[in-house]
Structures are given as structure tokens and as C-alpha cells.
């Protein structure tokens, strides 16, 4: 089974309507080393458990939002539109 994702604007919709944009990462600050930058660009936690992740309601209202989903069950625990200074603000 695929699963439903609750868009903060449109409510529960099939996952095929959305674009997945990966786990929420934190951009390193301006004086980061090359290793910190490559770690940010390529390396991922890829957790088996609850993951904070970006989604985009591609065929709907076009909103970008953050979901908390258990990657072992695909159960979506909550979705929210993060505050501009929130989810991925630089360290």
C-alpha cells in the first residue's frame, strides 16, 4: 500500500500527489570546513524510525511543508508548515 499524507492546506491526499525532498538537514554556517560542507550535501541519517522530511504538494496547492513520518511503517505522525527561521536554518 502506498499511504496518505496530510497536506497542511488540503488535508489527507495520496502520496503520489506529493514530491519528496529528503530528510530535513541543517546547513552549516559560513565558516564551515570542506568536510562539513560535503557532509551536509551528501551524507544522510537515513533513519529507520521517525524522520523529519520535506514534502511539496506538486499536483495540489504547491506548498512546501515538513512531515514527521515513521520510515518503518510509513505512518505520518504530523505535518506542518515550518516557520521561515525554523526547520533548516543555518547552524
Amino acid at each position: 500500500m502506498s499511504f496518505l499524507l496530510s497536506c497542511p492546506h488540503c488535508g489527507p491526499r495520496p502520496v503520489d500527489e506529493f514530491r519528496f525532498q529528503g530528510e530535513v538537514t541543517r546547513r552549516p554556517g559560513p565558516d564551515a570546513s570542506l568536510r562539513e560542507l560535503t557532509d551536509y550535501v551528501y551524507f544522510r541519517d537515513n533513519v529507520a524510525g521517525v524522520q523529519r522530511e520535506w514534502w511539496y504538494h506538486r499536483t495540489g496547492c504547491k506548498v512546501w511543508f515538513v512531515a514527521e513520518r515513521d520510515t518503518r511503517t510509513n505512518e505520518v505522525l504530523r505535518t506542518e508548515i515550518p516557520s521561515p527561521a525554523g526547520a533548516a536554518a543555518p547552524r
Binding site: Y42, F43, A48
Partner: protein, 404 residues
């Protein structure tokens, strides 16, 4: 005579884990087993344990779509897979086990000018490396695969194809069992239902793994755990540039021989071959979101079936027999992550995405060489984990993302 009715075990059940081995391999799939087999065959290292959390070949090794090919885009990738195909060609004889490898050819379809251009590039890279690979046009495609709908009726009419004559299909379970038997006969121990629960490190080295059946020490540890790589390597503190996704496939009911070549369309996100049993084996692209839940989706069946029917309208009335999923460990550049890690005696085969099975024998030989010599073989040097920190990626996006 009555000997033919005797049930012969492919490999011996092992009761207890020893306290210590020379090499411990985590993951009893095609890569782990091939490494154990070549450690014994090429280097005489037989004090080896393969730890498998479920049964041998239960993961990607038993779930892939069995396609073997070497027409990759980068010189590094193409050379690597060329060697793998050469090893596969000899493997049935070597293992004394019929792997049913049939090299009937592989056609990657182009439906746009830009994909034709990429195929020209791939063909040139391949030809320089002496890989049989060339671009063909509808007239020749009609001879190679007259069953295909080459008219302008489909949504994306076929403009050309990359034809790779040595491409073929193999019986994947037989590869797993043959390698497992070969490793077992040489002295390696295969431990099923043995889950690694922790990895102990000390001063930049792995000292032991903890399992549900006790603690095991070794000189060298190898992780060959595909979709679970992030979790296994995480226990050792090794962070990976990998995300885990599901890949799905299905087979139809078996029918008479109809299709001998493998047909791939990246544009339509589909690949199709007919197995020796007569089933049409159809696969597509990974699901875009990361997940560890191996459950298929109806939307996959729906769009794969639709796209296959665009290519082969004759299959309209075939029924779907079964569908399944497997976990894939995707790397950012669609090339594997192979060889040494920052831990001195902890080596890795990961990041295979959807194409790890094609590489099993060459992974086995090169990892075995790395263990025996302590040096990274030049063939796999471009695939080191360190490339993501030095920003020297090996992009196989064009040749590996959907094209099986």
C-alpha cells in the same frame, strides 16, 4: 542410482558461532557470499563467517530482476561491470551449478533526441573499453525484437536504442545458492537468523560484532547489507551518503516463449524480460521517498502495466501473478560505495541502488583482494567512500537510474 533421490544439503547448518574468525561478513546476499567464496578460492582464507539476519538470499539477491549487463556510461563503471559480466560468464562452470545465464541481448530504448545522444556517448565509452554496445535504429530494432510496437501509436514512439548483445538474464536464486555452496565447501561458515545488534570499535578499528547469538571477534569485518547499510555502518560510527528506498517488480502468468531480448525504457520507467519459466518480469523505478517498509503500491502496478502495454500491446490479457519489493541503498551519484572506510579493518559494499546484483562476482573478487592484500584494487578505487568528501563523484545517473 538411488543416490539421485538423496536430499543433499547445499550448505551445512552451523550450530554455534565461534568466538573469533579471520573475517566476518555481515550480510548473506550475493555480495557477502561472493566475498566469502573468493576469499577461499583466490586467497585461501577460509576461517570466515557470513552472518545473515534472515535466510540466505532473502534480501535484494532474491528480489532483483536478474539482468546482467555492462553498458554503463562512465569508464570506471563500464570497466567494472565488464569484468563482472566476464566472471558471470564463467561462474556456472566454476561453481559446478547451472545458473541459467542466457545472453540474448539488451535494448535500452530512446524516445527522444536527448536520450539518443546519451546513448551515443555510452556506446562510445563502451566501444573504447571493448564492450559490445552500439546504437541501433528502428529498422534493426525490428529485426532484433519484431514483437515491439515500433509504430508512432505509443505515447513516446521509439527513435532508436542502445543494443548490448552480451546483456542477459540469469537465475538469481541459483547464483545465491551456488556461491553459498561454494563458500561452504571451501570452509566458510554461513550463519542464518543471525542479526548484528552492535559493533565494538577501539582506536579506529572494529574489534567485535555483537549478535543475537553472541559476540564474535575478527581481524577484518565487511558490511554487505544493501538497504540496511546505514543502520549497520551506523553501529560502527561510519556515516554514509545513502538513502533507503523500495524498488518493486512483478511477474505475469507464464506463457510460451515470446521475448528473448531485455527491453528497457528509461522514459517509460519500465524494463521487461521473459524468464525461462515464461513469466514476463517487469520492474520500474524506486519509490521516490525513503522507507524501510517493504510493501508494494498499486500505483506501481498500474503505471508499469500501462507502459509495458505501450511497448507490447499483445500482452493485454496477461494476468499478474505476483508482485514484490526490495530495499535499495541509493547513493548520490548512482555508483557504488565499495572498499575501505575510515575504520582500518571495516570494509564496505553499499550504495548499489538498483543494480547491485550485476556486480556480485566482481565485488567478491575485489573485496577479497582488499582483505588479503590490505590494498584497494585499482578497479574499485574510484568507488571509495572518501570520494564524497573530495567531491570526485562517478555519475551513473544516465545509465543506472532506470536502465536495468
Amino acid at each position: 542410482m538411488k543416490d539421485i533421490f538423496r536430499v543433499r544439503r547445499m550448505w551445512r547448518p552451523r550450530s554455534e558461532l565461534k568466538k573469533r574468525y579471520d573475517v566476518v561478513i555481515v550480510g548473506g546476499g550475493s555480495h557477502g557470499l561472493a566475498t566469502a567464496y573468493y576469499l577461499a578460492k583466490n586467497h585461501g582464507i577460509t576461517n570466515v563467517a557470513v552472518l545473515e539476519q534472515s535466510y540466505i538470499g532473502s534480501g535484494a539477491a532474491g528480489r532483483n530482476t536478474t539482468i546482467i549487463r555492462s553498458n554503463y556510461r562512465t569508464p570506471e563503471g563500464a570497466e567494472f561491470y565488464k569484468r563482472s559480466v566476464e566472471l558471470y560468464e564463467r561462474l556456472s562452470g566454476e561453481l559446478d551449478f547451472n545458473l541459467m545465464f542466457s545472453q540474448h541481448g539488451h535494448l535500452t530504448l530512446a524516445h527522444t533526441d536527448s536520450s539518443l545522444r546519451v546513448m551515443q556517448e555510452r556506446a562510445e565509452v563502451n566501444q573504447i573499453l571493448d564492450i559490445d554496445s552500439r546504437v541501433v535504429y528502428p529498422e534493426e530494432i525490428a529485426r532484433l525484437c519484431p514483437q515491439l510496437d515500433l509504430s508512432d501509436t505509443p505515447t513516446w514512439p521509439i527513435m532508436g536504442a542502445l543494443y548490448h548483445a552480451p546483456g542477459g538474464i540469469i537465475r538469481h536464486d541459483a547464483v545465491v545458492w551456488g556461491l553459498a555452496r561454494g563458500a561452504d565447501r571451501a570452509g566458510a561458515e554461513l550463519h542464518q537468523n543471525t542479526t548484528v545488534t552492535g559493533i565494538e570499535t577501539d582506536g579506529g578499528r572494529v574489534t567485535a560484532v555483537q549478535t543475537n547469538r553472541g559476540r564474535v571477534e575478527a581481524d577484518v569485518f565487511i558490511s554487505a547489507t544493501a538497504g540496511w547499510s546505514t543502520l549497520v555502518c551506523g553501529m560502527a560510527g561510519v556515516r554514509l551518503p545513502i538513502t533507503t528506498h523500495i524498488l518493486q517488480a512483478f511477474v505475469t502468468e507464464p506463457v510460451k516463449p515470446f521475448l528473448d531480448v531485455i527491453i528497457v525504457s528509461a522514459q517509460m520507467h519500465v524494463y521487461v524480460s521473459q524468464t525461462d519459466r515464461g513469466e514476463f518480469l517487469i520492474g520500474a523505478e524506486i519509490e521516490p521517498y525513503t522507507t524501510y517498509k517493504s510493501t508494494g503500491t498499486f500505483s506501481f502496478l498500474e503505471y508499469s502495466a500501462r507502459h509495458v502495454l505501450e511497448l507490447f500491446p499483445q500482452l493485454e490479457r496477461l494476468k499478474v501473478l505476483r508482485a514484490w519489493t526490495g530495499l535499495c541503498d541509493l547513493s548520490p551519484d548512482y555508483s557504488p560505495i565499495l572498499g575501505a572506510t575510515e575504520l582500518e579493518n571495516f570494509h564496505l559494499s553499499a550504495g548499489w541502488g538498483t543494480y547491485g546484483f550485476k556486480a556480485a562476482p566482481i565485488v567478491g573478487t575485489t573485496l577479497a583482494e582488499l582483505v588479503a592484500s590490505g590494498k584497494t584494487p585499482t578497479l574499485i578505487a574510484p568507488f571509495a567512500l572518501e570520494r564524497f568528501h573530495s567531491d570526485t563523484l562517478v555519475s551513473e545517473l544516465a545509465a543506472a537510474a532506470v536502465s536495468h
